[in-house]
Amino acid sequence: MTTVDELLALGDDALIAAQRLAEWTTRAPELEEDVALANIALDLLGQARMLLSYAADLERAGLEGAGRDEDALAYLRGEREFRNAQLTELPRGDFADALVRMLFFAAYQRELYAELAAGPDERLAAIAGKASKEVAYHVDHAIMWTLRLGDGTDESHRRAQAAVDRLWPYTFELFEDRPHLREAWLAAVEPVLAEATLDRPEDGRFRPTGGRKGVHTEHMGYLLAEMQSLHRAHPGASW
């Protein structure tokens, strides 16, 4: 059976990725990209809402009396209670960071959701099935830009490679609970990097971890402070 903690890991990944991606709104390099990034952030936010609502329902089922809802989970947990992988919380960075991160994360989500969609938990399978279609578009979008940036100008190649090198170590954490997904992920990501004329980094010893146990980077606290500020300033209010 799926546990609350597993659902939180899934939901928090989507929520924090959406929060970071939405920071691009009004800041994208072209108007079409403003639309595309907001769209992807909206997809992720939608996934987060379904997953956190499921987590809340499951949590409530094990409790006496009233439990938490999606907003209580998003707005009233502290940093140590968030279960997202650190990759999702890293600062916005430049456009190469955003799109390489999307490639790594969406390619992971694609494998993950495909597995969950075929899994025994019906509610989770339905969520994953719907999300799979969205994520397929995210992967396409990220591939398109990885190619353009990697095989564009010298400047864009340099930035894309720097993003790949910076983010690669954070991808190991994604597969901690499901190591068997990494092979398919590598099979998807490596050819894209190759076609984009980008070096696939070596698998080094720096493999940041802890997100699934609530150990985050120092960036996470600031993200939550901003995200939760208004909600926490009005305890108990409805919106």
């Binding site: 709104t25 009004t26 994208a28 108007l31 403003d34 639309v35 940036l149 209010a237 919106w239």
Partner: protein, 307 residues
């Protein structure tokens, strides 16, 4: 000449001018100015509301707001496309926005100070925009009229969402209700000013009316907005900050005109956020230059490869 005759006949018959039709140069220029200003307003207008995406107080509100700001980017895209049918280039229009040669709606030069401002913008600012824009769906230039039909549909959706935000706040805690009232107090007069100077002072109106780009005067539209809004405010249980509002015998609400000196200060660039809005847009544009260059270089390489 024959071209002018054709143009005049179409206008007289309430028909549509299309991109390939000949048209007076002044009509073309006037339309470019107006459509570009409208597109710029959508783009700059993303900022005040975008300011609250990261802090929206519930996940549902966050999703609605993000979708709304995305719609504005979409409106910008349709409108730039409509302007491009008149023989201008989006990049050039963009440049004219950044260097101040073209304007955008002054309403976006005020800051969003609280969450309630998101509601007030939806209700009042989008509400005023709709009143302004609905007649444009019948504008004589085809591509602009068609873009406006789509824009207006989404805008009225946005207006309802803004109203709903305020409705929840007005029925919430005392702090929430005060927040809603405060936002209305700050956005009311700037919203009235969105209809432009009084008819007696308006410079472009007469010619635009003749060309059937514009169909109502500034004051007619403003009155329509006031009449509509007074009733909605009553339902909200919030007040509009005008002690002289009263229903006249003609069925219209008498109101105090906004402070046009202030409006002109903002139009001339000295409002609270003019510098910030343009600076933000310029930074996004400049920070993205290497990305656009990469896309161009990549496309050229592909072209080379397929030849």
């Amino acid at each position: 000449g024959g071209a002018d005759d054709y143009f005049g006949a179409v206008i007289a018959a309430d028909g549509k001018i299309e991109p390939r039709d000949e048209m007076p140069e002044a009509y073309r220029k006037s339309l470019i100015r107006q459509i570009a200003q409208h597109a710029h307003s959508e783009i700059i207008g993303m900022q005040p509301e975008g300011n609250w995406i990261s802090r929206a107080p519930s996940l549902k509100r966050k999703a609605i707001l993000l979708a709304k700001v995305q719609d504005e980017a979409g409106h910008g895209l349709y409108l730039y496309a409509a302007a491009e049918t008149l023989g201008v280039d989006r990049a050039d229009l963009y440049e004219m926005l950044l260097d101040g040669r073209q304007k955008y709606s002054s309403i976006f030069n005020y800051p969003t100070l609280t969450w309630a401002d998101v509601g007030a913008i939806g209700w009042l600012v989008d509400g005023a925009a709709i009143v302004n824009q609905v007649p444009l769906c019948r504008c004589s230039y085809g591509p602009y009229a068609r873009a406006m039909i789509r824009v207006c549909k989404e805008e009225s959706f946005h207006q309802r969402q803004g109203y709903e935000i305020l409705h929840v706040l007005a029925n919430g805690s005392p702090e929430q209700k005060a927040m809603a009232q405060d936002a209305i107090d700050r956005w009311w007069y700037p919203s009235l000013a969105m209809f432009g100077p009084p008819d007696t002072d308006s410079t472009h109106s007469a010619q635009s009316m003749a060309w059937k780009i514009k169909r109502f005067s500034n004051d007619e539209l403003r009155q329509k907005f006031v009449d509509m809004t007074v009733q909605q405010a009553e339902v909200l249980g919030l007040s509009l900050p005008d002690p002289d509002l009263r229903l006249g015998e003609d069925g219209h609400w008498a109101y105090t005109q906004p402070d046009y000196d202030e409006l002109f200060t903002v139009i001339k660039g000295d409002g609270p956020c003019n510098r910030q809005r343009i600076e933000h847009r310029r930074a996004a544009w400049e920070d993205g230059a290497w990305v656009r260059e990469a896309a161009t270089a990549y496309a050229k390489k592909r072209e080379g490869a397929t030849v």
